[in-house]
């Protein structure tokens, strides 16, 4: 699972604005991150935070009403503003997607085998026979029992978890450098989710695939992510290695999210779940202020007067950075 080498995907200062009936809506604002081969980067946040829009903008999947600026580089290739044929080639072969609902992503009238081989024959120019052999191989890779016979089955003959595995197999067909998984286990039962997460983690290790995992579930993040990007109202508010971020969250939104997750044994301690009052704002333009200030327990004038930069703590030698004027761990130290 260790990430090696140069980043395969580099996102810099990504901004996405949607044109709507009620004026422009800023969905993503100056988001930057890298993903290295074999690494699992989790993008976490609640609905409306911009995590799915970020994922979709990587390979140009956003609708025409979206305006994307900034840079998304896949190795040496710039994807923002790239022509549609280039993007199409990239999408099949180098950046693959897995979505939440496996049933709507599979065509019900074709066998899963033909759907996997289609990708292979388009992008890798394999013969029918080679493609079929590879499809069986892929189904085996994602843990479908007796893949040689299942390759001829239709999507409805698979259960939810198995369909998601088929989707992952399709995504892996051309050995992509980056796999973008948008809430891949949200529609699955927990006992099934566990197996799919194990599969994803294993792929990073075995194939060196870089995984961008979009999720709202901090348990999933804790389970398989190497690094975390916490998003709020379109901005990255905190990022760092998973363990560090969970151990010492610095942004109050991260802290709030962690406190809101029900965890074993908390009621016994007489605790309540932590709430974050208020709602995620819909922003027509990004203000020069902390967007979380309205809901933050530590907010003051400074927070409303200027947007904090995503910075490491001065003594912090790691890559753990937060965009907060009054980081939570600093307060903690002061309090003691």
């Amino acid at each position: 699972m260790t990430a090696q080498g140069e980043p395969v995907l580099t996102v810099r200062d990504l901004r996405v604005t949607f044109r709507t009936d009620d004026g422009p809506v800023s969905a993503v604002d100056s988001v930057s991150f890298d993903v290295r081969p074999g690494e699992v980067l989790a993008v976490v946040g609640e609905s409306g935070c911009g995590k799915s829009v970020t994922a979709m903008s990587i390979a140009g999947l956003l609708p025409p009403s979206a305006t994307v600026t900034g840079s998304v580089r896949l190795r040496d290739q710039e994807l923002v503003g790239a022509p549609e044929p280039t993007l199409r080639r990239v999408r099949g072969a180098e950046v693959a997607y897995v979505f939440q609902e496996p049933m709507t992503s599979l065509n019900p009238v074709f066998t899963v085998g033909s759907q996997i081989t289609e990708t292979l024959r388009i992008h890798q120019k394999l013969s029918r026979k080679q493609a079929l052999a590879r499809a069986v191989e892929l189904l085996a890779l994602v843990g479908i029992p007796s893949p040689a016979s299942r390759v001829g089955a239709y999507p409805h003959q698979f259960s939810g978890g198995m369909r998601q595995r088929v989707m992952i197999a399709m995504a892996l067909a051309c050995d992509p450098a980056v796999l973008v998984a948008d809430e891949p286990t949200t529609a699955l039962d927990v006992t099934v989710q566990a197996a799919v997460l194990d599969l994803l983690r294993d792929l990073g290790t075995r194939l060196g695939t870089a995984i961008v995992l979009i999720t709202h579930d901090l348990g999933v993040v804790a389970d398989i992510a190497d690094r975390v990007l916490v998003m709020y109202a379109g901005r990255v508010v905190e990022t760092g290695p998973t363990q560090e971020l969970f151990d010492a969250p610095r942004h109050h939104y991260t802290l709030g999210l962690l406190g809101a997750v029900p965890t074993a044994g908390r009621r016994a301690a007489g605790g309540r779940l932590q709430e974050i009052p208020g709602l995620v704002p819909v922003l027509h333009e990004q203000p020069d202020a902390c967007t979380f200030a309205e809901r933050c327990p530590a907010a003051d004038e400074q927070c409303r007067a200027g947007a904090p930069a995503l910075e490491p703590r001065d003594t912090d030698p790691t890559t753990h950075r937060a965009a907060c004027w009054h980081p939570a761990d600093a307060l903690l130290t002061k309090g003691r």
Partner: protein
């Protein structure tokens, strides 16, 4: 209670139009085609209501001295037909008759189709009966029905509307049935049933109001169908009787002189087309406006 107060935007002025309807109106105003359709309809309705005032002559008044006057002739803005009747006056009254047929026919389809559709969608036991009944109606040739009605009751505007209305009942039933079927499985209906709501309550308070936008759309599509249908019936002599004009009878009368006096066919033909198009455009815009999800 320690629950957090939720920050909410200020409540709208209670005296104002409900926001939902206001949003629908706003969306409707943003559709240029919808506005065009509405404008044409408004002019058509106004013209037909004011026909007795606006028309220079009685629609049946003949001018033997002035047959086949071309449009633009002094005194006959849209020309005259074979008997020297003023085309403009006949169009105004004909429009009135056509709109009447359209509205009456659709009113009948609504009165019969909506309750049957609700019943079929809501009560499983009735569904089989009502659905077979609609299949039967769809299989029955409409013209045969119209001929039969005309034979028994005599051809008239009312009987044309009756035949057209009956032919539109199955479509209305189907639309309402499928909406009802979708709505009755939603949780708000279940919540209402848990509190002991009767079927009539559920249908009247929850199902019908939510099915209304589909019904309105179906109606705006059905009215122009009825207007065109009336033209066909009148053309065949099964609708409005001469000398009363309708857009359909005018078209029928004009056919023998179409070569000599094309305007006698073109003017009512254009009127039918415009009204039908206007209803369709307005109906489409209304459907989009009533769907809250359609706000882009």
């Amino acid at each position: 209670m320690t629950a957090t107060e939720i920050v909410t935007p200020p409540a709208p002025d209670p005296g104002a139009t409900p926001p939902r309807r206001r949003a629908a109106l706003r969306r409707l105003r943003r559709s240029p085609l919808g506005i065009a359709g509405f404008a044409v309809l408004a002019v058509a309705v106004l013209a037909s209501v004011l026909a007795p005032v606006l028309a220079p002559y009685s629609p049946a008044q003949v001018h033997f001295d002035a047959p086949f006057q071309i449009p633009g002739t002094v005194g006959f803005a849209l020309g005259t037909d074979d008997l020297g009747r003023d085309v403009l006056s006949r169009i105004l009254f004909g429009l009135r008759a056509s709109l009447e047929v359209g509205v009456l026919a659709v009113a009948l389809a609504l009165v019969v189709g909506v309750p049957l559709g609700l019943a079929a969608g809501y009560f499983r036991a009735l569904d089989a009966v009502i659905s077979r009944f609609t299949d039967l109606m769809l299989a029955f040739p409409f013209l045969l029905l119209a001929v039969g009605l005309a034979a028994i009751r005599g051809p008239s505007l009312g009987n044309a509307a009756l035949a057209l209305g009956i032919s539109q009942i199955p479509g209305m039933i189907r639309v309402v049935r499928s909406e009802t079927f979708r709505l009755k499985n939603l949780d708000f209906v279940a919540a209402s049933l848990v509190d002991g709501a009767s079927d009539v309550w559920v249908l009247g308070r929850h199902v019908l109001p939510n099915a209304l936008s589909a019904v309105i759309v179906q109606a705006t599509v059905a009215i122009p169908q009825a207007i065109i249908g009336e033209s066909v019936l009148s053309f065949l002599g099964l609708g409005i009787q001469p000398p009363d004009p309708s857009l359909g009878t005018m078209l029928a009368d004009a056919q023998q002189y179409a070569a000599q006096a094309p305007w006698t066919a073109v003017v009512p033909g254009l009127a039918i087309m415009l009204v039908a198009l206007a209803f369709n455009l307005f109906g489409d815009a209304l459907r989009d406006a009533l769907d809250p999800r359609s706000s882009r």
